[in-house]
């Protein structure tokens, strides 16, 4: 470890980094703008100037930028020397000459890196009396507000947007101090990661528009460490609340998962918590008076007990939820018994999830995103991760830059010298092979893209596996004219040559299950070949894996519906699931009519909740504690951010007659060996001081609720964790043993303060649990048993298959996830539903783009196709997409989920709804 001497004190620092990184890890206060822990150094803002001395005798020193100077053993430098302090002050004074007099009306003020750095540099008085340059703003969509006057031209935004996340529509225009950061034309930002501009921008050029709708200064917000529930990655977030309204979501650093960045669905999809359709009261359907009665909490508990007591075990069915916490599902399962508990996954998905679990247990564990970022070859099969689990796609982009970084390293250029690395790497990218049924947003960095028919792709994957098993020198024996063989060979050679090859796939409804099985096999072969090989498989929802761990293999949603059809059911309990997303209205109406009591627990008034005979209002992720199992089997605990209003209470409390959270955790951790340490995610309330969820600067404590009563209302108590709903208690920056409730450190008001919470440079947050890896080789899960599932036998194709299209789904970041699609701003960005065909097929059938076409799903089991009546015919406009294979038609994933058959989907296209033939 090199030793550096800063202002006469010597420190041990990590080798290979730069001086700014070293100062950051030592928590020394050195200002900076253009440097970012994930974006590295370009040395343009001149803020991190330090004085470097040649030797012990050197008393003059020379000014050098810390971010551009490599750490060397025995280096002497000064941060505090007058000369360099004056230099920094003059630099920031020049930067500030054009900055507007805006702070009172700026959303960034109070957590502004520019404010912090200006104060840190000592510039407090404006001397410049000349005029300020101004810019016109642009409309950038419903999420991001643009206020270009505030720009200090650090270039972080374009470096993040273009270089890091691969966006193309944000750029820098004009020259010298007129530079303008925005789009060529006003319009919605196209990147799925645009929300990160809010945190990347050191000042208020890009601010969160949704936060501004119900704005509150950072110091007034109450927050707690939580887990994002919008996809299976389980990014760490800080929800922030004031006065009962969830105000915003910001990033919570997790070194192995989300790092510094979130996707837009995670950041802006939170408004369902404040939604007008949220449930706050217990409602009971009154058949006599044809209306709904409101029950008080005790009546509700009594009614629930009464309904369950009068129902026989075999007349009781419960459906769990993959969008709610493990505790809620566990409580429901305990209440109704294992045999009556069903998951909310259709059987085809459940089978694949079980296959995946078997793979994790017996073959290979999954990997985190940090190791994906460090991989040097990736094969992506069948999943459009940019739309289904966007944070993974961002990691894929970092992986593709590794070849360039390696090339630069060979020339002696360190990885952190961003401009140099970029210059050296040019178009050099690490190999990324994509096998997918449609073009995706990752195509621009892909080495090869295969969008052939799924049947061909299956063959391709099998061939890749084959070439991995047999000797690589087989190339001479391969027919040079066979394109498929050539592709397979090229991919297998890349996978073989890589040090850390990765397979990335996913589970979603409507995908070809044979391809998924083949992918698992391929990954297993690769893993046998190279133990450093990684594997990532995304899942449909935040807790899909958690629910599958609790649930037994056969108890999927299709099985639940079959039981409802075949056996008399008196009581049906539905936990936080909207069944109308999975089945058509007609089908469910018939089933619901046959059930005497439908009990729904949900925090939103979903279509299913409207059918309830007893509706119990539950809590969203921000209002209750809960554990989530992400795609890799990482069990993470989310701490409740604020107390639930009115009659809302966590589902586990409704289902366990008000048992406290710690007891449920205790029961749950007894379930399996790998859950033994579950309690460590939720530290119990300690006798003395607890941690504060609010900052010490919180304002308005004696006035906020005085319109209700001028006597102050005491804050809610949280007996389940050692966080308090108050600013009283240990502040996060002081307690080193506890996951911080918010990121703030003296002099560092912005999220950049995160470096003061990290143990090492860009390392984990001190005190924050990294999650429990359930499939750790050392852990032994004895109770969690899943049948060793194999892929189902390939189904017979329907007759007259030449007239039918194979249906595959296409996803959209704002379309597919249930909770975020309740949010008005997200809805604005949902694309119009359409059918997608390639132009050749459209031409041969005489269809033109934009034409409204009728379609109906043809179940594969229908034997007599000619007599098939298209009773569920619907229509959608046609869109031409030449990336689609012939014989394949793409439909929005949510439509397939709702209307499609469970296994293999075939589609009949017609011009008019009356005729059955095309």
């Amino acid at each position: 470890m090199p030793e550096i001497i800063v202002d006469g004190k010597s420190y041990q620092v990590a080798a290979g980094g730069n001086l700014l990184q070293a100062c950051q890890s030592l928590k020394l206060e050195l200002p900076y703008f253009c440097w970012h822990p994930a974006l590295n150094s370009v040395g343009s803002c001149r803020q991190c100037a330090v004085l470097i001395y040649q030797s012990e005798e050197d008393t003059r020193g020379r000014i050098s930028m810390a971010c551009m100077t490599a750490v060397a053993d025995g280096q002497r430098l000064s941060i505090k020397a007058d000369k360099v302090a004056k230099f920094r002050e003059l630099c920031i004074e020049a930067t500030m000459t054009g900055h507007p007099h805006d702070c009172p009306v700026c959303e960034e003020a109070g957590e502004c890196h520019l404010q912090d750095m200006t104060l840190l540099s000592g510039h407090i008085n404006r001397r410049f009396e000349g005029p300020k340059r101004t810019h016109n703003n642009q409309y950038l969509g419903p999420f991001i507000n643009h206020e270009m006057n505030r720009c200090i031209a650090c270039y972080r935004c374009v470096r993040f947007y273009r270089d890091y996340s691969g966006g193309t529509d944000l750029n820098v225009f004009a020259s010298r101090n007129n530079v303008f950061f925005g789009r060529a034309e006003a319009g919605v930002l196209e990147s799925e990661f645009s929300g990160n501009l809010v945190e990347v921008c050191p000042t208020g050029v890009f601010t969160d528009k949704t936060y501004s709708q119900h704005y509150s200064r950072k110091w007034d917000l109450q927050s707690a460490p939580a887990i994002c529930i919008h996809c299976s990655v389980g990014c760490n977030i800080y929800p922030a609340e004031r006065n009962g309204i969830l105000r915003r979501i910001s990033n919570r650093f997790h070194s192995q998962l989300n790092g510094h960045f979130l996707c837009d669905r995670g950041r802006f999809g939170y408004e369902f918590v404040n939604h007008a359709k949220r449930n706050e009261q217990v409602w009971q359907r009154n058949q006599q008076s044809k209306c709904t009665d409101q029950l008080d909490t005790q009546q509700a508990f009594n009614r629930l007990t009464e309904l369950l007591a009068t129902t026989d075990q075999d007349e009781l069915v419960a459906i769990g939820s993959s969008r709610t916490s493990l505790e809620n599902n566990f409580s429901l399962q305990c209440l109704v018994g294992k045999e009556n508990f069903y998951s909310d996954m259709k059987s085809v998905v459940q089978i694949q999830v079980n296959q995946l679990l078997a793979h994790y247990r017996q073959v290979q564990q999954s990997s985190d995103l940090q190791s994906l970022e460090q991989s040097d070859c990736l094969l992506l099969i069948g999943e459009d991760v940019t739309q289904t689990a966007p944070r993974v796609a961002l990691a894929v982009r970092q992986m593709s830059r590794n070849a360039g970084i390696e090339k630069a390293a060979a020339l002696g250029i360190p990885y952190w010298s961003d401009a140099e690395v970029k210059n050296i790497s040019q178009d050099l990218k690490s190999p990324l092979h994509i096998i997918s049924h449609c073009h995706t947003k990752l195509d621009d960095i892909a080495t090869s893209i295969d969008t052939r028919h799924p049947d061909v792709q299956l063959l391709l994957i099998e061939k890749i596996s084959h070439y991995l098993i047999v000797d690589a020198n087989i190339s001479t024996q391969i027919d040079p004219d066979n394109e498929l063989d050539q592709t397979a060979l090229a991919i297998s050679i890349d996978l073989r040559n890589a040090q850390h090859p990765f397979i990335l796939t996913g589970i979603h409804l409507g995908q070809n299950s044979a391809i998924f099985t083949a992918t698992l096999l391929l990954s297993a072969i690769l893993y046998q070949l190279n133990p450093a090989a990684g594997f990532i498989c995304t899942l449909p929802q935040a807790n899909s894996l958690g629910l599958s761990l609790l649930n037994d293999g056969d108890c999927d949603l299709d099985a639940a519906l079959q039981r409802l059809t075949e056996h008399k059911t008196k009581t049906l309990i539905i936990l936080e699931t909207d069944l109308y997303r999975y089945y058509s209205v007609e089908k469910l109406q018939y089933l619901f009519d046959n059930v005497e009591n439908i009990i729904v627990l949900d925090h939103l008034l979903t279509a299913t909740a409207e059918q309830a005979d007893l509706l119990l209002p539950t809590c969203s992720f921000a209002e209750s504690h809960g554990s989530w199992v992400n795609y890799e089997g990482r069990l993470q605990g989310g701490i409740k951010c604020f107390a639930a209003s009115k009659q809302r209470r966590p589902a586990y409390q409704w289902l366990t007659n008000d048992t406290d959270f710690q007891s449920i955790i205790k029961d749950l951790s007894g379930l399996s060996d790998c859950l033994k340490t579950l309690g460590s995610l939720y530290p119990k309330q300690s006798g003395g001081f607890n941690n504060a969820r609010k900052s010490v600067r919180e304002s308005g404590r004696t006035a906020l609720s005085s319109y209700i009563d001028i006597k102050e209302i005491p804050p809610d108590n949280d007996f389940d964790s050692n966080y308090q709903h108050s600013s009283e208690g240990i502040a996060s920056h002081i307690d080193k043993n506890q996951s911080p409730a918010y990121i703030w450190s003296p002099n560092w008001n912005s999220n950049e303060a995160v470096s003061h919470f990290q143990q090492t440079d860009n390392g984990a947050i001190r005190g924050a649990p990294q999650g429990i890896l359930l499939f750790d080789k050392t852990a032994n899960d004895t109770v969690f048993r899943v049948k060793n599932a194999t892929g189902e036998a390939p189904l017979a194709k329907p007759p007259n298959v030449d007239k039918l299209f194979k249906v595959l789904p296409f996803h959209h970041i704002f379309n597919d996830e249930e909770l975020s699609s309740y949010v008005a701003t997200v809805q604005q960005l949902q694309p119009k539903a359409c059918l997608k065909l390639n132009s050749q097929q459209a031409q041969s059938l005489g269809f033109t783009a934009g034409e409204q076409l009728h379609y109906c799903f043809v179940p594969a089991i229908i034997s007599n196709h000619d007599r098939f009546k298209s009773k569920e015919t619907q229509s959608l406009p046609l869109q031409i997409d030449d990336g689609i294979a012939t014989g394949v038609i793409l439909l929005p994933a949510n439509i397939i989920q709702q209307q499609g058959a469970s296994f293999d989907n075939w589609l009949l296209l017609t011009r008019t709804s009356t005729r059955g033939e095309s």
Partner: protein
């Protein structure tokens, strides 16, 4: 003996000095314009609300008796949707006035705020907002701020250049 007589003389002398007692409320004391009494929210010279809901007054308040919520008008101005001061808690320290970047919140020479019902000591925005400029007559925040509002576009505030033409290639 001597000191006792002196004391008696002193007391006697006071019988002839004018009384200090003020016949309040018939007789009103002089309060300087800088007196720190009842808090008001003022308007700018154009008659628009000065408060931009920046929250600094609430933050600096040592007894946390100010609570407000920001909202935005159609013309782009930030204003307070609600502005509550709990005068049951206020100690008239004047920190809020010092912190206010727009001269919106000001303390006035009025202290007669006693109430029979404590709830009436909560002053909401409609009770606080006056129609004048208060002590500071000329200050108009939005004429200095870079934020555009209806009627004052980019580059039209004091000491601002016209917006940059980003398509220009001139040096």
């Amino acid at each position: 003996m001597k000191s006792q007589l002196e004391t008696l003389a002193k007391v006697l002398k006071h019988s002839f000095s004018p009384a200090d007692t003020v016949q309040y409320p018939e007789q009103q004391p002089y309060l300087s314009p800088r007196y720190r009494g009842r808090i008001v929210l003022t308007r700018d010279p154009d008659g628009e609300e000065r408060c931009v809901a920046c929250n600094l007054c609430a933050t600096v308040c040592p007894v946390d008796c100010i609570a407000l919520q920001k909202t935005e008008l159609a013309d782009g101005r930030w204003v307070a949707e609600t502005f509550d001061i709990n005068f049951a808690r206020c100690i008239m320290c004047g920190f809020c006035e010092e912190a206010c970047p727009t001269h919106a919140i000001q303390l006035t020479p009025d202290f007669e705020m006693a109430e029979y019902d404590r709830q009436n000591l909560l002053y909401r925005k409609e009770h606080l907002l006056i129609s004048g400029t208060g002590k500071y007559h000329d200050y108009n925040f939005y004429q200095i701020s870079g934020k555009a509002i209806a009627g004052k576009g980019k580059g039209e505030a004091q000491r601002e250049l016209a917006p940059v033409d980003i398509k220009s290639l001139l040096p």
